[in-house]
């Protein structure tokens, strides 16, 4: 019943020829909010830049240092510098997306529980949104690999023996799958438990809920870190392994 409740969101759908195009409205709302929050944060930090950083600039510089460090551990300095902006955006966007759903909960219901609609959730608690990111990153990695050297890119699939080719295919499919699943499952589970605790009696809705939300905030940051680090591991595998 909780799963159902969690899943019940307003959809916007139409047919594009034969293909059904479905938009999830709460995810779109949350994505837009996360988008605006991250954009506002970075623009505010980039305003009035000073040699001696203070306040927000200092904080954002710390995050940039952190994400740039992730990139540098996977690539050489020259290649890495092209991905600093991407790494920073990815990490901060995923963190904000992870935490959004924990902030508050908007549910409207018409009459009974069966008709309740959730209007607010983390974009990363939606499997479509997460897979969109994971698949895009994987495709991006493959694209960079092909652009760098198509021959070497193809040769990777037959290493160390030609008959390992199927294993490589499984590997390449598993990468985005696990990449997305890991993030989605963590955040989704966090939010499900929040709703479960909310629906239990008052004994669970107090301190345990607070503890769980705190833990989920922590998990949100850790999972964003893991997601970013995996993204760059996959990218670097395609860019630098065949040197």
């Amino acid at each position: 019943m909780n799963r159902k409740r969690m899943d019940k969101t307003e959809k916007l759908s139409f047919q594009l020829g034969e293909i059904p195009v479905v938009f999830d409205i709460p995810v779109m709302i949350a994505t837009t909010v996360a988008f605006l929050v991250v954009l506002a944060l970075s623009l505010l930090a980039a305003r009035n830049l000073t040699m001696v950083p203070t306040g927000l600039q200092n904080f954002i510089e710390m995050i940039i240092d952190f994400t740039s460090g992730i990139v540098r551990t996977n690539m050489d300095e020259k290649t890495a510098s092209r991905f600093y902006g991407f790494a920073f955006t990815l990490f901060v966007y995923v963190v904000v997306s992870n935490e959004l759903g924990l902030m508050f909960n908007v549910v409207t219901s018409e009459g009974n529980h069966q008709n309740a609609y959730a209007w607010w959730k983390s974009p990363t608690a939606d499997i479509n949104a997460v897979f969109s990111l994971a698949i895009a990153i994987t495709l991006f990695a493959h694209l960079l690999g092909v652009i760098k050297s198509p021959k070497l890119y193809l040769r990777e699939y037959f290493k160390p023996y030609w008959w390992m080719f199927p294993l490589h295919i499984i590997d390449e499919v598993a990468k985005p799958l696990t990449h997305g699943m890991r993030l989605w499952a963590n955040i989704f589970a966090g939010e499900v438990l929040v709703i479960v605790l909310l629906q239990m009696n008052w004994l669970f809705a107090g301190a345990p809920l607070m503890v769980w939300i705190g833990y989920s905030l922590f998990v949100g940051v850790v999972q964003a870190y893991v997601f970013t680090i995996l993204a760059f591991i996959y990218l670097s595998q395609k860019i630098s392994t065949h040197d």
Binding site: K11, L43, A45, M51, I64, S68, T89
Partner: protein, 161 residues
């Protein structure tokens, strides 16, 4: 849970747009500033190092100059001392010479005076003895004799003188 192409595309579009916007207007200026700061610090460290080296070399130079000045002063003092000693010696020598000269002159003068006194004394003695002798011989000696005698005597005195 179902496959939603719209959600995926929306998500992808939003994310790509966000990456572009944040990279261009957010992270790039900040990263540039961080790099600038790093360069600045690097430069500061380098220039500080240079200043330190320069100061060290200046100090060394100053030390050398000071040492040289000290040596020069020492030499000057030594030279002055030597000069002074030489001058003193010369003065003493001159004084000695002068003193010798004075002594010599004085001796000669004394000698002269003595000579003069002696001759005067001799004259006096001669005259006295003549007078005494003439007084004694007044009677016995004739005028001729007396004249002879006086002449001889005078001659003798003249020879002595």
């Amino acid at each position: 849970m179902q496959f939603e192409l719209g959600t995926m595309l929306f998500q992808l579009g939003a994310f790509v747009l966000l990456v572009l916007l944040v990279s261009k207007f957010g992270s790039r200026p900040i990263i540039n500033m961080m790099k600038k700061r790093q360069d600045h610090i690097q430069q500061q460290i380098t220039s500080a190092e240079e200043s330190r080296k320069e100061a060290e070399s200046l100090l060394q130079q100053q030390k050398e100059v000071l040492e040289q000045a000290r040596l020069e002063a020492k030499e000057m003092i030594a030279r002055a001392k030597r000069q002074k000693e030489k001058e003193a010696e010369e003065i003493i020598l001159q004084a000695k010479i002068r003193a010798d000269q004075l002594v010599k002159e004085a001796t000669r003068e004394i000698e002269l005076e003595k000579e003069k006194a002696l001759s005067q004394l001799r004259d006096q003695v001669g005259l006295l003895s003549v007078q005494l002798t003439s007084k004694l011989l007044e009677k016995e000696v004739s005028d001729v004799e007396q004249t002879k005698l006086v002449d001889r005597y005078l001659e003798q005195v003249g020879r002595v003188q």
